[in-house]
């Protein structure tokens, strides 16, 4: 049996075949589909956690309880989960534990392009790197065996091109004969007090030496000898590009990128005339090979930034090839908030009020784009509130009133809540807007602790934001309808001028939620061409449903696409000439 699977789907399948009991994640492109796919395997208890640290801790508990567990996240998620990860390296596992990390070279959907391979080295744990979907599944299965054999968490690193690439995968049956999870106590191994940790650390170092030696005979690290004039050490999707561009070159394809199989690398290097490393982002393999005293070419010819492509590798080797950037200049097509998006009115008001907006990660980061142009900072998940606190600590009294933090429901629960605790505790007089659209929207509508449903689509408790903020000590909490521009602007103005911390919660759902009873499309709107004066006021919200027709009338006129309009009413409120109304 074979199927075409994405890398993410293949990892999910591998987890099923490996007998995984618990899978946990916080959504993040390009890793999200791993958990979204894994729910089809009813044997696996799958859940969204509020953040990656909690997700890893749940996986750790499942492992300590004796079950195999998987945790998945995007590259920046590992920053959040790093604290438990580094100590987990010391305790080791009971049931096998796999941390899947999906990197995003080229930053297709990310705020940085950090190279997660450094985490495997930093935390002193093995990392596997598959080169297609077939390997995603096979390496996932192997990771659990290695995890239990070497008593270590294992990382599996994917990249966007692997996670979202599809290729043919052979399916197999799940493994049998795994021990049933049950409580077993081993405090000297699992309680990391200094006395215990001092005993564990040397074992971690020994483990790496053993793994490096074992890596020399693992089938996933393999020499492919062809013409020996050029030898290339590579891994992941870069291996595929190398085979495409330099089909005659010899390759050392690494399936385990940490620890490196040092003796195998020496052996391969001795067989080829000229040695290269082809890897995206950091010179991770290259520097270690150089430290072994082996001459190798890498980042002298490849960029440290962005992803590689067959064309970029050709260029580095001085081979002829096409150039994707050679096209003519055309209007760009950046992503945009959806028609009817409840964030649009908030950013319109923030722009009008000339607020200094500390932003966060989500669909609403698009509030940065013109014509809304109302975002001044964006660092990482949850950073908006702490950043706002810091800004008001240094600027003068008048400027303080301009500072507004915006944060989505899911991002607030991820790591923003700590920022709000600090803001209230230390009495920083900024305004926080929690954009509650009842879903984790940017990654494709995942449930979260404020949506009322679990990953398995089971009804559950739903966080009450006003009550939560009250419990944190916020004295001024306002709930508004963000589709009402007058109310939105007025409440923002009132809270911004207040010399105390305050929270505004917007209460309208994402227009893409298809769960019954959450979002309902209203009657669509239309422009009365006789009334439209061509003043362009309605264009200031950048709604994709509103089109400017320059050829109509004297100055041009606006037109609303009835297929795109959701009836949110925001444009009607902007029209001073009553030209916009509900379609008859």
């Amino acid at each position: 049996m074979h199927e075409i699977l994405s890398g993410n789907e293949a990892i999910a399948r591998g987890a099923y075949e490996a007998g995984v009991k618990v899978a946990c994640a916080y959504p993040g492109t390009p890793s999200t589909e791993i958990l979204e796919t894994i729910i089809q395997y009813k044997e696996i208890n799958s859940s969204w956690a509020p953040n990656e640290k909690v997700a890893l801790e749940v996986a750790i508990g499942a492992s300590f309880g004796g079950g195999r567990s998987l945790v998945a996240m995007k590259h920046v998620g590992v920053n959040v989960a790093a604290d438990p990860l580094f100590t987990l390296s010391y305790t080791g596992v009971n049931g096998g534990l796999l941390l899947v990390v999906a990197d995003d070279p080229e930053m297709h959907s990310s705020q940085n392009e950090q190279d997660s391979r450094n985490y495997a080295k930093f935390a002193k744990i093995p990392m596997l790197e598959p080169a297609d979907s077939r390997e995603c599944k096979e390496f996932t299965r192997l990771a659990f065996e290695l995890s239990e054999q070497y008593d270590t968490p294992v990382m599996l690193r994917s990249t966007t091109r692997i996670s979202h690439g599809k290729s043919i995968v052979d399916l197999a049956e799940p493994v049998t004969g795994l021990a049933e999870p049950k409580l077993s106590r081993n405090p000297s191994k699992l309680v990391m007090l200094p006395g215990n940790a001092k005993i564990r650390h040397p074992l971690v170092e020994e483990r790496l030496v053993k793994l490096s030696a074992a890596g020399c005979t693992m089938p996933i690290n393999r020499q492919e000898l062809r013409d020996t004039k050029v030898g290339i050490i590579t891994a992941g999707v870069c291996y595929q590009y190398v085979r495409e561009v330099l089909p005659d070159a010899s390759t050392l394809k690494l399936g385990m990128v940490h620890p490196l199989p040092r003796d195998l690398i020496r052996e391969f290097a001795a067989k080829v005339d000229r040695l290269y490393v082809v890897e995206e982002l950091d010179p991770f393999i290259e520097e270690q090979v150089k430290a072994m005293g082996i001459a190798v070419t890498g980042k002298e010819i490849f960029s440290l930034c962005g992803e590689l492509t067959p064309g970029r590798i050709r260029k580095a080797f001085g081979l002829p090839g096409g150039d994707a950037s050679a096209g003519e200049k055309l209007p760009g097509r950046p992503p945009n908030m959806c028609p009817g998006c409840p964030h649009r009115g908030v950013f319109f008001a923030l722009n009008q009020l000339k607020a200094y907006v500390t932003g966060d990660i989500g669909c609403y980061t698009l509030g940065f784009m013109p014509p809304l142009s109302a975002m001044d900072t964006c660092i990482c998940m949850g950073a908006s509130i702490g950043t706002a606190t810091g800004v008001v600590k240094v600027v003068g009294e008048e400027e303080r009133k301009k500072v507004v933090a915006v944060i989505g429901d899911s991002t607030f629960l991820h790591t923003g809540i700590n920022g709000l605790m600090d803001m209230v505790y230390n009495n920083a007089p900024a305004t926080v807007v929690i954009l509650d659209n009842r879903i984790t929207a940017m990654t494709g509508r995942q449930d979260n602790p404020a949506s009322g449903f679990t990953l398995m689509n089971e009804p559950t408790s739903r966080i009450d934001f006003p009550l939560l903020c009250k419990a944190l000590g916020v004295k001024h909490i306002r709930v508004i309808n963000p589709l009402d521009l007058e109310e939105t602007k007025r409440v923002l103005q009132e809270e911004m001028s207040r010399p105390e911390p305050s929270v505004i919660i917007t209460d309208k759902p994402c227009v893409l939620i298809n769960r019954e009873g959450v979002f309902t499309k209203g009657p669509v709107y239309q422009v009365d061409a006789d009334q439209c004066t061509g003043c362009r006021a309605c264009l200031k919200i950048g709604c994709p449903a509103i089109e400017w027709k320059p050829g109509e009338g004297k100055k041009g006129k606006a037109f609303i696409d009835p297929l795109l309009c959701t009836g949110c009413d925001v444009c009607r409120q902007l029209c001073k000439f009553d030209a916009i109304g509900r379609s008859k």
Partner: protein
């Protein structure tokens, strides 16, 4: 089977159904016994941004993305995005494009205009060119939303793959209630 790899690029605007079309292509090639790889970007691009999907098939496919300038067929869902992707196509490559213009934000807001004469510009560089009125034929099939399937039919005609594999893939991937209309739309495109 020859070692030749066929490279297909699907381009358009997020939300147009490009992912489903590339799924159907990949499934068809697998059913026909080929190795297949495909690649695309999810996430940000789904919010109305430009989308490029790569599908490659042959005896053994390595790279999941089409090497720059080696595309055999450019399957365009929208005219400007098709024009943008032309550098990915090889000299003498084929273009099948939907006769559809979707205005980007800067045009909607009246800051730029949608480029004129795109059809002629594409045709002059790639004479193996087919302009399809996807919307009209989809209406004829019974649903204006089946325009992609009309185009898929037109692309299928340019590939040497038995019709039965296409129809099996459609059956597997298109929701049951929409299948009949999509079959009809596919055949309308295929017979162009």
């Amino acid at each position: 089977m020859s070692d030749q790899i066929t490279n297909i690029l699907l381009v358009g605007v997020g939300g147009q159904g490009i992912l489903l079309a590339s799924e159907i292509l990949s499934e068809t090639f697998m059913l026909a016994g080929f190795d297949v790889k495909k690649s695309e970007i999810h996430g940000m691009s789904q919010r109305g941004g430009s989308v490029v999907s790569h599908v490659r098939y042959g005896k053994e496919v390595f790279s999941p993305i089409v090497p720059e300038g080696e595309g055999d067929i450019l399957f365009g869902f929208e005219l400007m995005e098709t024009c943008r992707a032309l550098p990915l196509l090889k000299k003498g490559g084929r273009v099948v494009v939907n006769d559809l213009r979707i205005q980007p934000p800067s045009v909607l807001m009246g800051q730029e205009s949608y480029p004129e004469g795109l059809v002629d510009r594409i045709r002059s560089r790639f004479p193996d060119f087919l302009l399809v009125d996807g919307q009209k034929l989809a209406l004829e099939a019974g649903n204006p939303r089946a325009a992609n399937t009309v185009l898929l039919g037109a692309v299928s005609k340019r590939l040497d793959i038995d019709e039965k594999f296409w129809l099996t893939a459609l059956e597997k991937l298109v929701p049951k209630k929409a299948l009949e209309i999509n079959r009809k739309a596919f055949m309308l495109g295929r017979n162009l």
